[in-house]
Assembly symmetry: C2
Homo-oligomer: 213 residues x 2
């Protein structure tokens, strides 16, 4: 059992974008940041629920497949689930539609818990106020020997990294400079001391770095 | 003729280190930042003047060789030459001994010029107070069709990048987090728009990124 993180970041370390508008709720930078991942066959099948077999099948797709392999539970922040965007909508069920890609119990960390949401495909969103350690204990028990992913956003990921709770960190580095947002690396000087780091480049230009504890 | 930059940076974008002490004038972080480059056969022959044929000959060495190829003149800042470390020593001739690796005219940008220094091997240090554009005009004329390198430090490099004067930027990214120093990427949002970017990983773990204009 391992605690795993996967994030897309820019060359200058930003894991979020800041150019959101009502017309572009994720912002145009977001499309550039995650474009190579969103183009993979795995993303198109698992997240977009496409069935045509379209999408890239190279190095980026290898990491996209690994993203979903052997995960038994997920932890995410309220922001990633969308509670900051839709705080007053009691029916908000996340960004992912009727069949979210997770297919496992998801623990959403929030200071204002709401009732559990059961989806059709094995995904279950459970809201709780908990420290990283407490959430991880719960997710580990639920995962029953499989891995736990800390999904994001970056502030939540950083709290788990700072607490030394992450066994494997994979970042897909898109070679663009965003210059603003939440910087994954800030405050993590010397993080590499606890890991072996390896790198692989994808056909898309994305550089995949993996920190293994 | 092209204007080229080559820098070693950390994963979080720092091109300088800050842990210098009298006993370690470059600091221990510096050794980690440039270690793979300093281990190449090219560096050992060209900079350390070793003749035993030692050093790595893989991807890092390929970039180290390219570093010196086809350069006709170099521009560097006062800090890189060492004037900030030895401002009161009129005999200071740089960090590189009797046979500096440059072997071409080097223009050192400084607000307090000093007399020209002719070295034995074709290297010449000429001190001037000039804007990036003025220095580049002079270096371009001197290079006579060959390339001009902007050698560093990062503050000088950033001034050339911000002015849109750099044709090719190569960074060797060492997968360590320094967390402090001068960040190459800060203030350069959107830099990639003017370049094609490609990536290559070295056996050492360093990721070589090249921006080609």
């Amino acid at each position: 059992m391992a605690v795993r993180v996967d994030l897309n970041i820019s060359l200058d370390g930003y894991a979020t974008t800041t150019d959101q508008t009502p017309e572009h709720p994720f912002g145009q930078d977001w499309g550039r940041l995650v474009g190579a991942y969103a183009a993979t066959r795995t993303f198109r099948e698992r997240v977009l629920l496409e069935t045509g077999g379209e999408g890239t099948t190279g190095v980026d797709d290898k990491y996209a497949q690994a993203y979903f392999d052997e995960i038994g539970a997920e932890i995410m922040g309220a922001g990633m689930f969308g509670l900051h965007n839709f705080p007053d909508d009691p029916d908000w069920q996340g960004w992912w539609g009727e069949e979210p890609p997770f297919r496992v119990p998801v623990y959403v960390l929030t200071h204002t818990p709401r009732p559990l949401i059961e989806m059709a495909n094995g995904t279950r969103f459970e809201f709780l106020t908990a420290s990283p350690e407490e959430a991880l204990d719960l997710a580990t028990e639920t995962a029953a020997g499989k891995d736990v992913r800390v999904g994001g956003g970056p502030t939540v990921v950083k709290s788990f990294l700072e607490a030394g709770l992450v066994d494997q960190l994979h970042v897909g580095i898109t070679p663009i400079l965003l210059g603003r947002g939440i910087n994954l690396w800030e405050g993590l000087r010397g993080l590499e001391d606890a890991y072996d780091v390896s790198a692989e480049t994808a056909e898309s230009g994305v550089v995949h770095l993996t920190f293994r504890g």
